[in-house]
């Protein structure tokens, strides 16, 4: 024990980081993945019902079911958990809360009452099939719901009714927005990064400063600044009005909709595109371009055949960074997206913070994570292949 080997000392040095990643990153993600398919709340509150229904044929009203439910409800009542149970069951079927409340109250008064006498709802086999399904701690329900699917009483998987279909559209909308923001960032960022790489030292410092200044500014401040500029009585609309470009009724809707979301997202994410691209461009020897020119290539040809392919790694890195960050965007759409500019993360937040449906939030998060992982694994390879071919 007198001298630790260098490698062991090295391990000791990175141990805090490993522990930090495990605690602050891996553990929460594992919890989320688990929560999207594992929801033991009802099973814990109704253990006897769970056991009784596990061996049920699923056809007639189960023989020992009523007895088990009665025992579970009385136990929950004694532990002050009826409201929690009723609330949780109500999420599975609207009206369940009232049924549980009435039944529990009746049982408190007279423990020997038959369930079917308290409420005819208890003689409905569909209700028992639902109970059999929801008392299992493992569920695919949340993942199905996250894809706008649901399970009918007889176990078939069907699409949600139209008023509840939402998430598939939102996932597609999110992917579309991310692609569009990436494209706009590329169109704006490429010339800018080129200008930075080509400029002299003092101009370069200024250009770099102009990229970094918004980068260092709080997200909220930037969103608020955009609101001031873009809103209906904002700087741009008032300016256009004063110049006579638009009339009082022709004010432009540039914020609290998809336009607002995209403008602000591009502004926030542009540095993530420019900086990696610039670092690639700055590393390119000027001699390649000069060689191409001296061999007689037109400047456009030089750009298309020599310069552009050499900067692909920067474009790919910046593009991937912007695209993946866009997929998870939350604050910006919440502040400036209005109704039509909301993305999938806003729904995840809604289920975390307001509807308390953490299972569904976890399922949506899981799908988003899978999509990002898939992209992160495939896109660099695609980009690499494209770069090699060029």
């Amino acid at each position: 024990m007198n001298a630790a080997s260098p490698s062991r000392a090295g391990w000791a040095l990175v141990l805090p980081l490993v522990a930090f990643i495990a605690i602050a990153f891996l553990a929460p993600i594992a919890t989320m993945l688990l929560q999207s398919v594992h929801d033991p709340e009802i099973a814990d509150l109704m253990p006897r019902t769970r056991e009784a229904l596990a061996r049920w044929d699923g056809i007639s009203v189960p023989q020992n079911g009523a007895q088990a439910v009665t025992a579970d409800l009385r136990a929950a009542s004694a532990a002050n958990q009826i409201s929690r149970l009723a609330q949780r069951l109500n999420r599975e079927r609207s009206g369940f809360r009232a049924l549980i409340d009435v039944t529990a109250r009746q049982l408190d008064r007279n423990p020997d009452t038959e369930l079917a006498q308290i409420d005819p709802g208890w003689s409905d086999p569909d209700l028992w099939r639902l109970l059999a399904r929801v008392t299992s701690p493992w569920t695919g329900q949340h993942l199905l719901n996250a894809l706008d699917l649901t399970v009918t009483a007889d176990g078939a998987i069907v699409r949600q009714e139209e008023a509840r279909r939402l998430y598939v559209d939102l996932f597609l909308r999110t992917a579309w927005v991310a692609a569009l923001v990436t494209l706009i960032c590329a169109l704006l960022g490429y010339p800018y990064a080129y200008a930075m790489a080509a400029a002299g030292p003092s101009l370069r410092a200024l250009l770099l400063f102009l990229v970094l200044l918004p980068f260092w500014t709080s997200l909220l401040v930037r969103a608020t600044a955009w609101i001031v500029l873009l809103q209906r009585r904002g700087v741009i609309n008032e300016g256009l009005l004063a110049m006579g470009v638009i009339g009082e009724t022709g004010r432009l809707d540039m914020i609290y909709n998809m336009t607002g979301t995209i403008i602000v997202m591009v502004h926030v994410l542009l540095p993530f595109f420019v900086l990696p691209l610039y670092s690639v461009m700055a590393g390119l020897p000027a001699s390649y371009v000069r060689a191409s020119a001296s061999l007689g290539a037109h400047p456009l040809r030089t750009f298309a055949r020599v310069y552009l392919p050499l900067t692909y790694p920067g474009v790919a890195a910046g593009g991937l960074l912007v695209f993946i960050l866009s997929l998870g965007y939350y604050v910006t759409p919440a502040l400036v997206g209005g109704r039509t500019g909301q993305l999938i993360s806003n729904q995840i937040a809604f289920h975390m913070q307001r509807s308390l449906n953490w299972g569904l939030a976890a399922a949506l998060g899981t799908l988003l994570l899978l999509a990002v992982l898939l992209l992160a694994l495939t896109l660099p390879r695609l980009a690499e292949r494209g770069g090699l071919r060029a």
Binding site: N80, I82, S83, R84, Q87, N90, R91, S94, R97, A98, D101, A163, R164, R165, L166, D169, L170, Q231, R232, R233, G234, Y256, A334, G338, R339, Q342, N346, Q347, F350, M352, Q353, R354, S355, L356, N357
Partner: protein
């Protein structure tokens, strides 16, 4: 005011960094409320006088209603709020879920006229888990210059884009909105909750909302709502009366309130279950819901006190702006918190989906 911390060890400092908890729990209290003008009114009429008389500092936290943050705190055993300002539907549900400590109304001080608390608080404003503070109201509010000729005056006008063109402001939660949609569609106030409980009634309310959906801007907080109205982003909006009144009387914004079929609700103070400062929290609630602080609060926001003994202390000019003023209250509807507790889950989800679709 400087707080003397008796022992600050490095471990305590680390704990402070991690939890953002109050450094000296011995004389601090964290109160969560709805922010903006509303919290400002509580600070001036209740927090500051309480601190002055007891030396307990109050840390104010903003939240946006709902039980999510509270549930997370209580279930994980890391309670960082001591007192919360809650609406009835959250109080009722949180009480049944064990999120709040029970409060015995016999502990509350009598009114300044000597009437015991139980008789002094208006019916419904004392709850097993909370003590009522103000009556506030869901109203419509509009920008006066947006309607140079005829002014909107009824709930129906919100859905009448032809006579009253302009963008509409709606909250991101359905409370009071679905009720109004049905009433504007011809359902009488006494029938609203019965009709809304049926699938057809709910569809009917959403169909009515569809007619203004493309002209609607949605807000999350009361402060946002006022900003949208003041900046002219919306012409006519669902609103909380007190915040509109403050914008009118303090910031001279050209806004008007429509009292037609206002839907009133109450706010309560509740003590979070498992807080380490239960005694101080109760002291605060006893103080803040006293006759004088409740009457004082009306100077800063136009919400009506729930104590009868506070009424005579309110200046007539202010009393006329409260939801409970007779001229404003003639066809008011009481928000049915119990109804929302049993039907709210499915409707909230549907409204959230409707909003994004």
């Amino acid at each position: 005011m400087v707080i003397a911390c008796p022992k600050v060890s490095s471990a305590a400092l680390l704990g402070l960094l991690i939890t953002y908890g109050p450094a000296c729990a011995a004389d601090a209290l964290t109160i969560a409320s709805f922010g903006g003008q509303y919290t400002a009114s509580q600070k001036k009429s209740q927090y500051e006088p309480f601190t002055a008389s007891t030396d307990v500092t109050i840390k104010s936290v903003d939240y946006n209603g709902g039980l999510a943050e509270l549930t997370a705190q209580v279930r994980s055993g890391t309670v960082s709020w001591d007192v919360v300002d809650v609406e009835l539907q959250d109080l009722d549900r949180g009480c049944a879920d064990g999120l709040f400590e029970k409060i015995d109304p016999a502990q509350l001080p009598a009114g300044s006229d000597g009437v015991p608390a139980i008789a002094d608080f208006v019916t419904g404003s004392l709850h097993d888990c909370g003590v009522g503070t103000v009556i506030w109201s869901n109203v419509l509010a509009f920008r006066d210059p947006a309607f140079p000729d005829a002014k909107p005056s009824r709930i129906e006008d919100f859905f009448d884009l032809e006579r009253f063109p302009g963008r509409r402001g709606l909250p991101k939660r359905p409370h009071a909105i679905l009720e109004w949609a049905l009433m504007a569609d011809g359902v009488s106030p006494s029938e609203v909750y019965r009709v809304l409980a049926t699938p057809e009634g709910l569809d009917r309310a959403f169909a009515k909302l569809d007619t203004v959906k493309d002209h609607a801007v949605f807000w999350e907080t009361g402060a946002q709502m006022i900003q949208l109205l003041a900046d002219g982003e919306v012409a006519l909006s669902a609103a909380y009366n007190g915040r509109v009144q403050s914008a009118i009387s303090e910031d001279a914004k050209p806004l008007k309130i429509i009292w037609d079929r206002q839907i009133w609700n109450a706010d309560y103070y509740a003590v979070v279950a498992g807080t380490g400062a239960k005694g101080r929290a109760l002291d605060f609630i006893r103080f803040a819901t006293g006759t004088v602080p409740l009457a004082e609060q009306t100077k800063y926001i136009a919400y009506g006190p729930v104590r009868r003994s506070s009424q005579p202390l309110i200046a007539p000019a202010i009393a006329a702006t409260l939801p409970t003023a007779p001229s404003n209250f003639s066809n008011a509807l009481a928000f049915d918190a119990a109804w929302w507790i049993s039907h709210g889950d499915a409707i909230n989800d549907r409204y959230a989906a409707w909003l994004v679709q």
